[in-house]
Symmetry: C2
């Protein structure tokens, strides 16, 4: 998503040139390219598919909508398995229109996880609940803190449901360090993503994630916490950034991002 202006073959090529060993993919471009074809593309390029993004959107009340969401998540699990990644990242969904019941919406997420967890396990896929910044609580994700994500995840087997920690969403939270330790100790720290916090936020607050090093986040601090929690998986960079997307030279964006990564992430990791 950081370089969504690149086609999947361009992405594979650019990763190779920038020394990036793996990619987190989003479903839409994969579906357009063909899931099997994408799997072959990245396998042939020697690139790991680190995660697939995104399942989720579990908060509907309407039974037909809920059924559609479950069906769509089963398809996402199958796609993840085909791509060879063991992690499907979940954006859980916001409040239904007119609804003000956050606790109820969170409970409907649990209902969906109970149904999808075993299905994912059968396919060798784990479900990673991603807490999104509280500014998305109404319209995107009612899971706003790592603590909430873990409270949900821990109701299910540690092999089935865990969390995805993205610095952009949790950097402000003084409880998040304890949450990272808790996730690590419980075997639920499935994924770790980086983006920087820059201001002012753009209208709609979706496309203003900063390049690593341009904002307020102390990456060395968060990387160290994740390391001490026993995380040894990939570290992804996920920048929703309108300025980066507008650039024609997507390969240069990827290269600069890889350079920024090497500047902010301690070498030992």
């Amino acid at each position: 998503m950081t370089v969504r202006q690149l086609s999947l073959p361009e992405l594979a090529n650019a990763c190779w040139h920038s020394g990036v060993p793996g990619v987190g993919l989003w479903r839409e471009p994969v579906q357009e390219f063909g899931v099997e074809a994408a799997a072959k593309l990245f396998k042939d390029a020697g690139l790991a598919v680190t995660t697939l993004c995104r399942g989720g959107f579990f908060t509907a009340v309407d039974p037909a909508e809920r059924r559609r969401a479950l069906d769509d998540n089963r398809a996402a699990i199958e796609e993840a398995a085909t791509l060879g990644t063991d992690t499907l990242v979940l954006v859980s969904g916001g409040l239904p229109a007119g609804d003000k019941d956050l606790a109820g919406a969170r409970e409907r997420i649990a209902d969906a996880l109970a149904e999808l967890g075993p299905y994912a396990a059968e396919h060798g896929v784990r479900l990673a609940i991603e807490p999104l910044h509280p500014m998305y609580a109404a319209d995107r994700c009612v899971v706003s803190t790592l603590g909430q994500a873990l409270d949900l995840a821990e109701r299910f087997p540690a092999e089935q449901v865990g969390v995805c920690v993205d610095t952009y969403h949790i950097w402000w939270d003084d409880q998040a360090p304890a949450g990272i330790a808790r996730a690590g100790a419980g075997g639920r720290l499935y994924s770790f993503q980086l983006a920087d916090w820059t201001t002012p936020l753009p209208e709609g607050v979706l496309t203003g994630r900063g390049q690593l090093g341009d904002g307020s986040i102390d990456f060395a601090y968060w990387c160290d916490l994740v390391d001490r929690a026993g995380y040894a998986g990939p570290i992804e960079v996920e920048l929703f950034n309108a300025e980066l997307w507008a650039r024609q030279d997507g390969e240069a964006v990827l290269r600069e991002t890889a350079e920024a990564f090497r500047r902010v992430v301690p070498e030992a990791l």
Copy 2:
């Protein structure tokens, strides 16, 4: 601030016509009008001054800047006393430019409170730390949760430092209900404010607070929590809303806001 298009005399008049018994004031219009004159205006109108907003901005590192902030807060305390309110609301300040140390910034707030608490008490004024939504952590207020605000406040006497709870800032937080109970039990629930959460957020995320009832917040739920925590003080409405500000008919905005208040706040409160 909800009807900042009104002059203070217009505000006093509009409150009278809408049956609003008190006003929370901001320093800038009060200073322009004259603090003593404003005090007399609202006293003569039979309107309580519920709070003065805002002190704070304690996070500077530079010693000269820190001295200026303390001086300015002493002036704010004196203004609050002159206006006859016992509560000065604090917006604590964001990260200094280039700084990434949230914990350090929070500690500098504590340093300032240690100095200002006794001064405020001498003037019959209490300092209310307002946690601001986490989306303001970088540029406005590093105190992002009610829990963080209470952790700070509880280092000082309960007569000196407490919290201001605004639904807009804490509605997403599943730990906030426990925080309200904790604030009430400790005698630190100084102020309660309402604004609704509406999306999409505008650029800069400052001026998109929704009219009561237009958004995602369950006011009956939060009012009940505050009531059960023993709060018997005023309930303020603070809407930063560019559309409301653009209207010429500020008195109608106030009247509509009072009507919205009566719809969403349980009658018993």
